[in-house]
Amino acid sequence: MVSPAVETRELRVRISGRDILKGVNLRVPEGAITAIMGPSGSGKTTFLKVLNRLIELIDGVEVSGEVRVFGSNIFDMDVYTVRRMFGMVFQNPNPFPHMSIYDNVAIGARINRVARSREELDRIVRWALEKAMLWDEVKNRLRDPPWRLSGGQQQRLCLARALAMKPRILLLDEPTANIDPVNTAKLEEALRALRRDEGMTILLVTHMPHQAVRVSDYIVMFYDGMVVEEGPTSEIALNPANEITRRFLRGEM
């Protein structure tokens, strides 16, 4: 782990006076897939949303500590710049219902001004859809509204939208929690390919130990707003040191 993509020091989050994250110290390696696991309410979503400062949308949030992304403190940066470094996929698919499939992807590129011409935009949209393993399924219906797609396809569309931003880091919050095994397999394959071919840094929140084992290089275990264990997937999956991790992996939580 030479240069971390994300590094947090004593990261604390309080929402309406309640401690949600209680001092998280973490180094997320660049170019790898890091799986974040932990029981419900342990602060996984909160952690992701601190990174792209989406947490600030909630009233009564206090964040303290340090978060560095590629070395720069995100709280010293313009909030929009911070958000544009990350692409995010949420627990439930949330494409914009009034836009076509094409525009749903293109908006990621448009907001970040990554395309200089119409042709370049077309290329980026196609690239993003291919990377999200959705291109073959939608190439003939790019003008359709997104709600004609299945839930799993919509989730990959949201992945494509995030990719079209050309983000440096991908955040995924239980992206397969509500989709079927076939779609889950496709999304996992897309993530592995992104890491392999693009060297993408990926943070994947998942509650499925098998998924973590299948796709991740590192595992981070959250419990009650703290990191209780972290390390390479092979080590943690085979030989967890922490009792909580052990119980979680056995499916007891």
């Binding site: 792209n52 989406l54 949308l57 929009y80 710049t81 911070v82 958000r83 544009r84 990350f86 692409g87 995010m88 949420f90 439930n92 949330n94 494409p95 914009f96 219902p97 009034h98 908006i107 990621g108 907001i111 970040n112 949201c158 939208r161 995030a162 931003m165």
Partner: protein, 322 residues
């Protein structure tokens, strides 16, 4: 076998179905009586009732014209009731109201929903709701006594003297009672109503979509623009329903529109709208042949505009569903 419905169920059903069907009956009656009273004048003046600009009450009835041939000039002799100026005035005042009202509406909704702190937001929402329910004659009296003179002195006069070459502002405003004043007053009256419609829809945008928008790194401006585009059908609906209200409003408009038969591209002139024409001329219309019928012919237009605009508006309103 389905069980028989209990008697009280049947009684309740029919006693509620009766008033419900009464509503449809009333709507039909309204349409029929409008049409029925309008028909005599349409039988004499024909389509030209709607294409001519002369309003000439007289004891001598209008001369028969070819019903399906629209004329621009009425016959020389006899009474004539051309509704074009009133229709024009209705359109001009309602369109002015919509342009201004839409601007206010978008500004207010964005301010209330995105900029104002929570406290201020609630105060504003309450004020807007309150204003939507005020009796319209209050607006009319206020428009006549304050808004009209104010606009005359500080807006219409200066605009006319500096921008008088533009046809829209080319006529000299003689008083505050003009079709423009009516448009401004109407915009104030329909804004609270339009705000309520647009705001409700804006609020119904799910948080997950807002999160998605912010996560793309949108600026506040881009974010607001995206949200507004998501609720475009509601905005269109607010425009149509607002237009329906503006074009049919009577009490307030009659007080400020100036009530003169006028037609042209200049908005600083007194004019009639269909509703103010009806309100103003109704008493007199008993004395002249066909005049009452002509007013009903105007009412028919209002009814048609109202039905078309409102039903499209309501259909559009149902289109926004998240």
């Amino acid at each position: 076998m389905t069980p028989r419905r209990p008697l009280h169920d049947i009684i309740v059903f029919y006693s509620l179905a009766l008033p419900a069907s009464l509503i449809i009956l009333i709507l039909l009656l309204l349409l029929l009586s409008q049409l029925g009273v309008a028909i005599p004048v349409l039988g004499v003046q024909g389509i030209s009732t709607y294409t001519t600009t002369v309003w000439r009450p007289s004891y001598e009835p209008p001369q028969q014209t070819i019903i399906w041939l629209p004329m621009l000039e009425p016959p020389e002799r006899g009474a004539w009731y051309g509704l074009l100026p009133a229709i024009w005035g209705t359109l001009v005042s309602a369109i002015t109201a919509i342009i201004l009202g839409l601007t206010f509406t978008i500004a207010l909704v964005v301010f209330i929903e995105e900029i104002a702190p929570r406290r201020v937001r609630e105060v504003f929402s309450t004020i807007v709701d309150l204003m939507a329910g005020l009796p319209t004659v209050l607006y009319g009296v206020w428009g006549l006594a304050f808004l009209g003179p104010l606009l005359h002195r500080y807006f219409m006069d200066p605009v006319h003297s500096y921008l008088g070459i533009i046809p829209l502002f080319s006529c000299e405003p003689l008083s505050g009672a003009t079709v423009f004043t009516a448009g401004v007053l109407l915009s104030i009256m329909i804004t609270p109503f339009m705000v309520a419609l647009v705001q409700e829809s804006y609020r119904s945008i799910p948080f997950t979509l807002k999160e998605a928008a912010w996560s793309l790194g949108m600026t506040r401006f881009e974010y607001v623009r995206l949200n507004l585009s998501m609720i475009l059908p509601s905005i269109a609906s607010a425009i149509l329903l607002g237009f329906g209200r503006a074009s049919s409003e009577t009490a307030a408009v009659t007080l400020v529109v100036g009530n003169a038969v006028n037609i042209g591209f200049c908005i600083f002139t007194p004019a009639y709208t269909i509703s103010s024409l009806i309100a103003n001329q109704f008493t007199e219309s008993q004395d002249f042949p066909y005049m009452l019928n002509a007013l009903f012919a105007g009412g028919l237009i209002l009814l048609v505009i109202g039905l078309v605009v409102n039903s499209i508006g309501i259909i559009l309103l149902r289109r926004v569903r998240f």
